[in-house]
Symmetry: C2
DNA sequence: ATGCAATTTGTACTATCGTACAAAAGATCA
DNA sequence: TGATCTTTTGTACGATAGTACAAATTGCAT
């Protein structure tokens, strides 16, 4: 194949479609859907506004395509890791492996899409916060299966914990995961430089450790504010 | 100046300013900042678009005023509860009280503002996700003191845990808290009706329980070498 | 009632939004 | 090469955005 470049290095355009998708991902993930205009995206991608319409018809269509590209690979990776985690014999180790199978694909690249894992997860976090309709539909029908599989796997390792409690705690996990990707600078700031919020490896380890402990907490067998039962040492 | 507030009917339109603030809060918290127009807000408040300009000058000014009204009372309530929590003698109980002091004001009304606690927290979550500039400035200069006080209080109860770890875990707490307010329906859906995601009391108890356990997890540097970690491929 | 300041209304201006569409440019192959 | 299809460009249109501003209205002290 003969490449004729060396003229413009402003992001070679062998595939303008990809450039638009990448630019849109980044802009949506950092500024939200409505704050970003089609012209912003086109400019960031070095493309013409009309080109966005040509490839994706509408702005919603562009968002839809971003989801379509990532959901498959990420869910595939998750179920592979989850299947491997289920085969871990030690119960304690298995729980950690299960949590890791859920967390790692969200932070790292799922396939050949360059560094797209964390970016796409951040995008999902922002769309979720904005109550984006396009995203809501895709999420419910694409990720609920994965979430149920994850919850079931956790429940297998912790059969004495009610399923509802596990749902709550896995919900907290997703919230923590999202927030870590949305405002990593807050970690750096509050730790006064002792921790780097944008270091994916640290975030994963911290999140896995904290989440495993949270899952292992005693169950809330009563919704009543009648304090805890003496599961762990209590005072008087 | 003599204020004449004899009428008990405070519902109709004695204060259009308040109605606009409440409507803006609700709309921003559910749809994001950019998705809501000044006309939307005015319509929801039963006011004229020009009235918004009159009271708050700009759309940013409106958001600023929302923050101004809530930050004070919420932080006051938090420091009161935190001070009370610090006086709990039993270390285990104290940790739970400290976490509760952080969580409860975020879910419940902080002052006379009707049911505004959860709504304002949801608003903060959405603004954080959108990377809103107005919100970012206020947050950093208003909530960092409270966050540091909270982190210090947790550290007092868990002196053997490195401060950086506590920062991470309290960051996870805030993320979980935000997400619980942003998409409570997900909890109901994934639990197949066994749990009600929009029940504030349940959310608080579940979050407190899970978070206390997460804080009590062993520190990362002592946990890592001791145990064999399940193999999981991760890239940068 | 009368006057005055505070508030609400109605409207208009400019900027920018998403999107459509025709023309230009590039690619592909008989 | 010329024909045909794909992609990019440039421009335009209607809708809606934030905001300004004058006129109309209201609330209160006199």
């Amino acid at each position: 194949m003969v490449r004729k470049s060396t003229s413009k290095e402003t992001a070679r355009k062998p595939n303008m479609r990809e450039a638009i998708l990448a630019a849109a991902e980044e802009l949506f993930a950092t500024n939200g859907f409505n704050a970003v205009s089609v012209r912003d995206i086109a400019h960031a991608a070095g493309a013409n506004p009309g080109s966005v319409t040509y490839h994706f018809k509408t702005k919603d269509g562009l968002l839809l395509e971003i989801y379509r590209r990532h959901c498959g690979p990420m869910n595939l990776r998750r179920s592979e890791l989850l299947a491997a985690a289920r085969r871990v014999r030690d119960l304690q180790d298995r729980l950690e492996a299960v949590v890791r199978a859920y967390v790692v694909p969200a932070f790292t690249s799922g396939s050949d899409l360059a560094g797209g894992g964390a970016r796409f997860t951040r995008l999902r976090a922002v769309m979720s916060a904005e109550g984006n309709e396009v995203a809501r539909k895709i999420i419910a029908q694409t990720f609920d299966d994965t979430s149920h599989a994850f919850i079931d796997a956790v429940h297998e390792s912790l059969p004495h914990i009610p399923r509802a409690d596990i749902v709550w705690r896995s919900h907290f996990l997703l919230g923590a995961l999202y927030y870590s990707l949305v405002t990593p600078d807050r970690v750096s700031r509050l730790s006064r430089g002792e921790a780097d919020g944008s270091d994916a490896a640290s975030a994963i380890e911290q999140l896995v450790q904290a989440t495993v402990a949270a899952f292992q907490a005693p169950a809330l067998d009563q919704a009543a504010p009648a304090r805890r039962r003496p599961a762990v040492s209590s005072k008087t």
